[in-house]
């Protein structure tokens, strides 16, 4: 399958790990950041021979083995990366790694809570540290509005501003614009929108987005991509994918701090495997510190969702982190981790807390429900967080939706649950018991054995045997 005769010696090691970057046959370091000129994507890439069957999307499962440390280390010490990604353990496609960022050494797979406006709603930074949060997301759109990226820069960057000693990630601002502003429009120049402050027409270009993120100072910054909903069909998706590739070049050119901020590219392409493949290859060509899989978690059916994740994780380089944007349900995170993804973010745990819902191994617990008023048990008997150790469901029930303290306590528990899930994913892979962990997870969540079909399909591709969790006649 790998046309090894085309590969020069210098890239051979890279090729072993990224079998589907074969398009870059003659390029060792195609786009060094400082010399980049924005230009059209090389259309020739699109025409390179593609097999007609899509078996290439699902490579045979790699037998569990640990990546030799020295090999991984040798590849990543590129001067354009401000991170180190060292894989400590594997099971087939799943991997547990040490991700070293400028402000913090973290462990993947990991979940990143979303602190939209420079804070996770209702939690202090000391609580977040106690819970075990490693990387927190800040929303560029909101921060650029208030208190403005210039102010954050003047006061020493977002880390200093909010006194968060660990790692931060900022998104590009594009998604919020498209989802929050009625009159946002995307052109080749950038995202045009009406300023929510005074109604003036404004433009967010890739350059501007990167500049704002440079000022905010997060460890990881995201390229501005042309994101479309997965429920949309037609040529718009293709247009968005190619534009994303054109914009990544502009983002790379505008990035002034590659030595301490990692620019991640975002793979778009809707649910079309051909488009996704083109996008992956185009981004991998640019040799970025990490890659995100975007455009998902927007209402598409789960069966399409996991296939896109599987295809992208198979095609993205082994030695770089992979971030699935917007993925937050615990089940989705377990499946994506099995397929080889490393990082996740979602507002779900904190948002659902404010509506009175707690995350538990069995799924969710709706504390608003009348039955909770008499339940003297903790939210989750197996949870060691401050909330479960001290409070009963009945007390939380009388707080939720009426008192701020209720959503504070639930947010604390939900984030603790997500960070515990992250830690368990990491340690179970490192300690060689990942399949057992997955089975136990599914058994708790589906005690009747009614594991959804999409999960079964995904686990098959991931090479994890979950037959012990599924009842003999699963409903499809």
């Amino acid at each position: 399958m790998i046309p090894s005769q085309h590969i020069s010696a210098m890239v051979s090691m890279t090729m072993l790990l990224t079998p589907y970057s074969t398009v870059t046959t003659n390029c060792v370091k195609p786009y060094p950041n400082c010399e980049l000129k924005p230009g059209p994507l090389r259309r020739s890439d699109a025409n390179l021979g593609r097999p007609q069957n899509f078996a290439f999307l699902f490579p045979p499962p790699r037998q569990g083995r640990t990546q030799p440390q020295s090999l991984v280390g040798a590849i990543q010490n590129s001067k354009d990366m401000a991170l180190r990604f060292e894989i400590l353990g594997r099971f087939n496609r799943a991997r547990a790694a040490k991700l070293t960022l400028p402000h913090f050494v973290s462990q993947t797979p990991l979940f990143m809570p979303v602190g939209t406006q420079g804070t996770i709603k209702g939690l202090t930074t000391s609580q977040l540290e106690e819970i075990g949060c490693q990387i927190i997301l800040g929303n560029t759109y909101h921060l650029a509005l208030r208190p403005t990226s210039e102010l954050i820069d003047e006061l020493g960057g977002l880390h200093k501003f909010m006194n968060w000693p660990r790692a931060l990630l900022t998104d590009s601002g594009g998604f919020q614009m498209v989802s929050l502003l009625h009159l946002a429009d995307i052109t080749e120049k950038g995202v045009t929108f009406q300023s929510p402050v005074d109604g003036k027409p404004m433009l967010l270009t890739p350059e501007e987005s990167i500049q704002i993120q440079n000022r905010i100072g997060a460890d990881i910054i995201m390229a501005l991509d042309d994101v479309v909903k997965t429920t949309i069909t037609g040529p718009r998706i293709e247009e968005a994918m190619y534009r994303t590739l054109r914009w990544i070049d502009r983002c790379i050119a505008a990035h002034k701090r590659p030595h301490d901020q990692n620019l991640f590219g975002i793979v778009q392409g809707g649910l079309d495997p051909v488009l996704r493949d083109i996008c992956v290859k185009g981004l991998v060509d640019r040799d970025l510190p990490g890659y995100a899989i975007g455009g998902l978690a927007g209402g598409e059916d789960k069966d399409s969702f996991w296939r896109v994740v599987a295809q992208c994780t198979a095609a993205l380089p082994e030695d770089k982190p992979r971030y699935v944007m917007g993925v937050g349900y615990p089940l989705d995170i377990v499946v994506c981790s099995a397929l080889g993804a490393d990082m996740y973010d979602c507002v779900y745990p904190t948002r659902t807390a404010r509506f009175g819902t707690a995350l538990v191994p069995e799924g969710v617990l709706k504390l608003k429900h009348q039955a909770m008023a008499h339940d003297t048990r903790p939210i989750d008997q197996t949870c060691e967080c401050m909330v479960c150790k001290n409070y009963s469901r009945a007390y939380i029930h009388c707080l939720v939706t009426k008192d701020a303290m209720g959503s504070q306590l639930l947010s604390y528990h939900n984030l603790f649950y997500m960070m515990k899930l992250s830690r368990n994913l990491h340690s179970s892979i490192v300690e060689g018991r990942f399949p057992e962990f997955v089975c136990k997870f599914l058994q708790k969540m589906f005690p009747e054995g009614d594991v959804p079909q999409w999960v079964c399909n995904a686990m098959e591709v991931a090479g994890i045997d979950i037959s012990s969790c599924c009842s003999p006649f699963p409903s499809s």
């Binding site: 406006q117 420079g118 804070t119 709603k121 209702g122 939690l123 202090t124 930074t125 000391s126 609580q127 106690e130 909101h142 208030r146 208190p147 102010l151 003047e154 006061l155 020493g156 501003f161 909010m162 006194n163 008023a373 008499h374 003297t376 401050m386 150790k389 001290n390 409070y391 009963s392 009945a394 007390y395 029930h397 009388c398 707080l399 009426k402 008192d403 701020a404 303290m405 959503s407 504070q408 306590l409 604390y412």
Partner: protein
């Protein structure tokens, strides 16, 4: 519960020690207001960052639990301390909390007292109240009172005293009283009438209670008529039992209470400050500083507190108060808190409540020091005057 007095100061004021719930708490002391047993904003795991044991005293109103959770469930959970995960804290129950449990004197009748709460207007009879106390098991509890504002008729005022004393008897002789445990604080009312206040205090003093809860203040009487009323009450009470009061908010009002010989105060000052975005900055950790003519801040504040919503703090990277040891000042800047207020984030109130509580507890500590040194009268005079001067000067320069 045990109470003993350690020092008196001329001009009023007594410093004592209240032994309750395993803690030795020095008085005059501040009871922190809570909503459903937990602070309004401070998460329970950050309560321990506040000064100990000053921050152990928590006041709550049993009426907060009128809906959402049943008394039976509270009993099953083992009472308030278990339910709130605050086993080392001291809970004082008072039906009125001045924020969401407000006495409604017009709907009260001979059967019970009326309160405006988020669950509507509730009529609470002594037997109902005792059921609440017995399932919640607080360390201290005030008896049910008919609190009336200062402007009611003499007849209504007299009725409130009669009712309060009768309900006190019903509370302490009720068959659940023994089960409830906790120290009983007899409620004293009487509005703005000195005679009625004296009468009520004398009646309550005859009963077998562990302390006294002075009610009916902060409901329309003026600050000028208060000292006479307070003195009338405390002169009729035995010296060796603690006196608690509700409804005195500001530092100046607290000092009035201290001068009259009150030992325990609850105050909604911190809550209202926090909601408004104010952080206390008046010097209180050093008596000398309270005396000195502090240089006025030039940004239009009155030197006693700052409003963190003001744009002047947008880029201010200093803590709220230099040298303050609270969690907020050790970790965050005015600029950050200003941003949090601008974007309506809950964290703003959390951080402010921590600072304001820390600061106000510090004020109480300074008051206790002044009493122990015998200089309370001087301290009070200087404090009130310097605050008045600052506010006056700030108003002039505005």
């Amino acid at each position: 519960m045990k109470f003993s007095i350690k020092a008196w100061s001329k001009g009023g004021g007594r410093a004592g020690v209240l032994q309750v719930g395993g803690h030795a708490i020095e008085t005059p002391a501040l009871l922190l207001t809570t909503r459903k047993g937990l602070p309004n904003f401070i998460p329970p795991d950050l309560l321990s960052s506040l000064p100990d044991p000053d921050s152990r005293l928590l006041q709550f109103s049993p009426l907060h639990f009128s809906e959402g959770i049943s008394l039976k469930t509270i009993s099953e959970l083992g009472g308030l301390h278990q339910m709130l995960g605050l086993k080392e804290h001291v809970f004082a129950a008072v039906p009125r909390d001045s924020i969401i449990s407000l006495p409604e004197y017009q709907s009260a009748n001979k059967m019970g007292a009326s309160f405006e709460t988020p669950c509507g207007r509730l009529l609470i009879k002594p037997v109902q109240y005792m059921e609440m106390i017995s399932s919640m098991k607080p360390n201290m509890w005030a008896t049910l009172a008919d609190e009336v504002p200062a402007w009611v008729s003499e007849k209504r005022n007299r009725t409130s005293v009669d009712r309060t004393v009768r309900w006190l008897d019903e509370c302490i002789t009720s068959n659940v009283a023994a089960n409830a445990g906790g120290a009983v604080f007899g409620s004293i009312v009487g509005g703005s009438k000195i005679e009625e206040r004296k009468r009520c205090a004398q009646e309550v003093a005859k009963r077998d209670v562990s302390g006294f809860c002075i009610g009916g203040f902060g409901l329309g009487e003026s600050m000028d008529e208060r000292p006479a009323l307070l003195n009338a009450i405390t002169e009729s009470l035995p010296q060796d039992k603690p006196r608690q009061i509700c409804g005195l908010e500001l530092p100046e009002e607290v000092l009035q209470g201290v001068a009259a010989g009150v030992d325990l105060f609850d105050s909604t000052y911190i809550y209202h400050l926090t909601l408004g975005g104010f952080a206390l900055t008046f010097p209180s950790d050093d008596i000398a500083k309270c005396y000195s003519g502090e240089q006025l801040c030039d940004n239009g504040t009155d030197g006693t507190k700052i409003n963190l919503k003001a744009t002047v703090y947008r880029k201010d990277t200093s803590p709220i108060l230099e040298g303050c040891k609270c969690y907020t000042c050790q970790n965050h800047t005015k600029a950050y808190i200003n941003h949090l207020f601008n974007v309506h984030e809950m964290l703003a109130q959390i951080l402010l409540e921590i600072h304001n509580t820390h600061h106000y507890l510090g004020f109480f500590r300074v008051v206790r020091e002044a009493i122990k040194r015998g200089t309370f009268q001087e301290f009070r005079q200087n404090f009130v005057e310097s605050r008045r001067d600052r506010i006056f000067a700030a108003a002039l320069s505005a």
